[in-house]
Symmetry: C2
Subunit: 311 residues, 2 copies
């Protein structure tokens, strides 16, 4: 099966799926719209969040980055007058330096991602959505800006009027993504609980991806990132409101209509199910907030079971 | 005046000179023959040793790098299967990343060195010997290799038969170096106690430098890096023997003959003075091992005084 994932939230379900599926049965396709060149290094925040989660290296208390991270580089960079708006931990930095070095040597992002996740002991395939650069930009009330300045430097404060995924039309799905989509035995596609606009839409914006999902015959289920009308993390609910929708599972369902066969929502939002089902999308209401590893594996199983019932 | 310096040993005297001279009266010209591209970053070990020493940031117990350094990056890089033969501390890394970024933006190594040393509060001019790349290579009994693999990875174990400074003939002295050499009021040139072959000869190999030193009219004094027949640090004595000389101050004097007017040797080696003086080079025998800041400043004063007496 295929999991489509953004960063931290998506990585939790990706971890659960990797717990319950054999390595050959799961391809985790990760958003690269958040990637950016910083200090001469290619930083891929979502790939790294997924990689660190699967390797068991994530800092679960802080909610992002590596456990046991240190910040000597940032302190020294600040002393030198370098750009300090984006925090790069000392250990995390090794990933960006080594990735950039390997890319400069001619390897693709797919190859480098496979190598580096393999070095950390990850058996499952982690693949970028594309080997060509795609960069998310937001148009806001304070101007157009790239994703990371919006997300990190401006802390998502600007009001967004539209998004676009620069380069998507000229990019191709990565080889692992294309191969997984083309497998005749593709059993399911799971859209992880990631931001629909910032994490999932860049993947769906790649030429042929939405069509291939529809044509695959495999059921596609999405896990809503909205619980109780709020995003567990990040600006999903704020963006929904800015883009004219009422933040909630109905808006998630409307966003994915025509692509997704079933939506997983939190048990506390079970009252949302009837309207979504009435509009033609199956709903599974279950405990969708993942705190422990067991939560992650259980939700993964429930998603697979739900998808299996939609065939 | 001008100080010519390699790394750690030279940086001690450079620190002393900066203690006793006004900022406008001292240009510290640093060897770049040890520089190398590593992990996509330009590492300039001698510039950084001088910069850290002048900024009061050196680790004096370990003898190189920054005090309070941490090693999270290296641990994470090793975990990823990256090249781990050259240790880059977390704080030190900020220098290489920021330098590389600024160079990629079109600044010269001279400009970047001035900016970064200025950011660390250094008032005196620290200049690379050249803005064009010069790379020291050694021919050894185990083959030809670049300086850093020889020095760090092989720990100077191979027997050296010759050295060369690739790029030196096509390089130019840096603007600050050229300007300092051309000053009509140039009072002295001090060659710091650095390795003659590895740290000083690359500087002297730049077109016109040796001629300009001779033509300047300013006295040139060198501080011997050899004490009691041994190098205080590094492979200077080993190299001398491999290149056919008896390790000692007489060999240092012979090496610099025709360029240097006076040699500073350690008081414990005072017996070497007569033969060196008989061959036409003045000698100052004094306590040349610098342990404290006061040692550094005192030796700097003695060098300046010695040079003044050679006019």
């Amino acid at each position: 099966m295929i999991a489509l994932s953004g960063g931290v939230g998506g990585a939790k379900l990706a971890f659960g799926l990797a717990r319950v599926l054999a390595a050959g049965d799961l391809t985790i396709v990760v958003n690269t719209g958040d990637d950016f060149e910083h200090l001469g290094l290619l930083v891929c925040p979502d790939i790294d969040s997924v990689t660190y989660a699967l390797a068991g290296l994530s800092d679960r208390e802080r909610g992002w980055g590596l456990a046991g991270e240190t910040w000597g580089f940032m302190a020294a960079l600040k002393r030198l007058g370098g750009a300090d708006w984006f925090n790069l931990g000392d250990h995390d930095l090794a990933m960006h330096v080594e990735r950039t070095r390997r890319l400069a040597g001619g390897r693709t992002l797919s190859q480098v991602t496979a190598e580096l996740s393999g070095a950390l002991g990850i058996a499952h395939r982690v693949a970028p959505m594309s080997d060509q650069p795609v960069r998310t930009f937001v148009d806001t009330d304070t101007g157009r800006m790239a994703f990371q300045p919006y997300f990190v430097r401006e802390r998502c404060a600007p009001v967004v009027s539209s998004l676009d995924y620069v380069g998507a039309q000229d990019a191709r799905p990565s080889p692992a993504f294309s191969e997984a989509l083309a497998r005749p035995d593709l059993s399911a596609i799971v859209i992880c609980p990631s931001n629909p606009y910032l994490s999932v839409d860049p993947i769906l914006a790649l030429p042929g991806v939405a069509e291939a999902i529809r044509a695959s015959g495999a059921p596609c289920v999405a896990v809503s990132p909205i619980v109780g009308g709020q995003a567990l993390k990040g600006p999903a609910a704020k963006l929904m409101a800015e883009l004219g929708a009422v933040p909630g599972n109905a808006a998630v369902a409307a966003h994915y209509r025509g692509l997704v066969d079933g939506l997983v929502i939190d048990a506390g939002d079970a009252a949302d199910a009837a309207a979504i089902e009435a509009a033609g999308m199956a709903v599974l209401a279950t405990a969708s907030v993942m705190v422990t590893d067991e939560d992650r594996a259980r939700l993964a199983c429930e998603c697979l079971d739900f998808a299996g019932r939609l065939v």
